[in-house]
Symmetry: C2
């Protein structure tokens, strides 16, 4: 199944306990596409960058299976730039700089050939733009949406409309709590699913991820990393792995959704092992399969005696 | 295999968002014994209470399979009393009152017939007392220990000696972090296992529990409760379910340790559904098995396609 990804393409400056980088490829659509491309190609990316976007980064995306028809270079300005600093525990971060640049005027126009995409990934952008995408695509098999606190507090009405219309919402635990005003994640899940989405995935960082659906609940652990270099893009890589693997599997059912959650977790676990997408761009199929099997083994509960 | 439990027997006053009780049976040895008794009987409890200990509570323990030879009534004073208030999120609590009473002079003298017990459970008491127990028992098959922040900061030397000598240490995430000065739980686990115990279980509350051993790592989810009435005794119930089931299984291997972690999680999940041990004392085998199967189903990862 074809995958459409809409989101940001950016440069990031990152400070973390493990070190810092001044400028590295980033953005939700970038991470989603890179992770997704391991399972399905081409990945249809709709995004915009400025005149400063490096040829080498464009080449990287192409080499990783990204179709560039929806990738627009806006010569009027610079690429979206974000700079942040992670705290010692890596669960919190401060934004040091945000320069929207050409992304301020990003209007996701979906190319005609992309409109029939079977899987639609709405990266973390303004819900008004996510709605625009939903209005343009034609009968996708699965729509998947990410969001963040900024939109939960700032664009609630449009976000509620997005949540009502998508099939899968993927958010983290804090976002689920903010969205519902509840602290118990199982209560959050029930409330959010009542808002519309058939499937809800709550990401819990080092505590794994939980998939909620009508009949099923699936709890996946996190990969037992001893070092996390840079959490940037972990959530997007999760979404990309999830969507990309489902696309490859070509069949959406409860078993495959579980597998997709694990592949998402695998991609996120690799993502954080180096700055930006450095590790994510260097994987082999063997690495992904091996880690999948570790997830499977570490959560295996034997039957009762 | 015979199970020996050493710890506190107490009365608790509990305030929680769901309500309050002024005085209810409590104490680490109580919860461990009650949970353990579902799988193996008799449970050999060594503990002390005061002259105010109710006959009905004594009868309850007996009815639930507790052997009373090591259960001492000290007529010189009152039973240990603790009163606490849980915060809205239930993860934190304030101690409002602690009256050690006869527990202040608790000296765990192990009856001769208990000394050959195969599984020894050291509930959360002073590590100096835990060492006394270890000095009295003869070649147990498995020693299991719980502790808390109070001893980590206040009796570190004795606690280190206990940790060096036991087979299984069961603590929560905050305690693991305090014990090692590390924030990453996988790093904590490596450091703690280097301190001695063959097996380490880190309890993460709503995020489940993780078992670490030389060759294995096993991540169990938490049961998806929508309401938690009273967290008191959850950790002790975990230990009791873990130890009791292992005793019943009669064989300690990696598969059974995983099952034991799940049975521990099951008992803890029931414990928190009502105040004190109210729910824990009302279970049927069917309830326990059913919840075990839910744990198994919700963490099942299908094989790769």
């Amino acid at each position: 199944m074809s995958v459409l990804v809409v989101g940001s393409v950016a440069y990031d400056g990152i400070e973390a306990p493990a070190g810092k980088v001044d400028r590295i490829l980033g953005g939700s659509a970038t991470y989603i596409s890179l992770a997704s491309g391991y399972f399905t190609q081409p990945v249809r990316l709709v995004g915009t960058v400025g005149y400063d976007f490096a040829e080498s980064d464009k080449k990287l995306l192409k080499d990783k299976g990204v179709d560039m028809e929806g990738f627009k270079v806006d010569e009027s300005g610079l690429t979206f730039f974000w700079k942040g600093r992670y705290h010692e525990n890596l669960n919190n971060r401060d934004t040091l700089d945000t320069q929207l640049n050409v992304f301020e005027h990003f209007d996701p126009v979906i190319p005609e050939v992309y409109k029939g995409s079977r899987i639609v990934c709405l990266g973390n952008i303004a819900p008004e733009l996510q709605l625009k995408v939903l209005d343009q695509v034609r009968g996708p098999k699965l729509t998947i949406c990410d969001t963040m606190n900024f939109w939960i507090s700032g664009s609630r009405e449009a976000l509620d409309e997005v949540i009502k219309r998508v099939d899968v919402l993927i958010i983290n635990d804090q976002e689920a709590q903010e969205l519902t005003g509840e602290s118990n994640l199982n209560v959050c899940a029930r409330k959010i699913r009542q808002m519309g989405p058939k499937y809800l995935i709550i990401k819990k960082g080092e505590h794994g991820a939980v998939l909620y659906s009508e009949q099923d609940m699936f709890s996946a652990p996190a990969f037992p990393l001893k070092t996390i270099v840079d959490p940037t893009g972990a959530g997007d890589s999760f979404l990309g792995g999830f969507a990309g693997w489902l696309s490859w599997s070509d069949r959406i059912n409860e078993e495959n959704l579980r597998r997709a959650v694990v592949y998402g977790s695998v991609m996120a676990s690799y993502c954080v092992e180096d700055f930006g997408p450095n590790r994510l761009t260097q994987l082999r199929k063997f690495d992904i399969d091996t880690r999948y099997d570790v997830f499977k083994k570490m959560s295996q509960i034997p039957g009762r005696l």
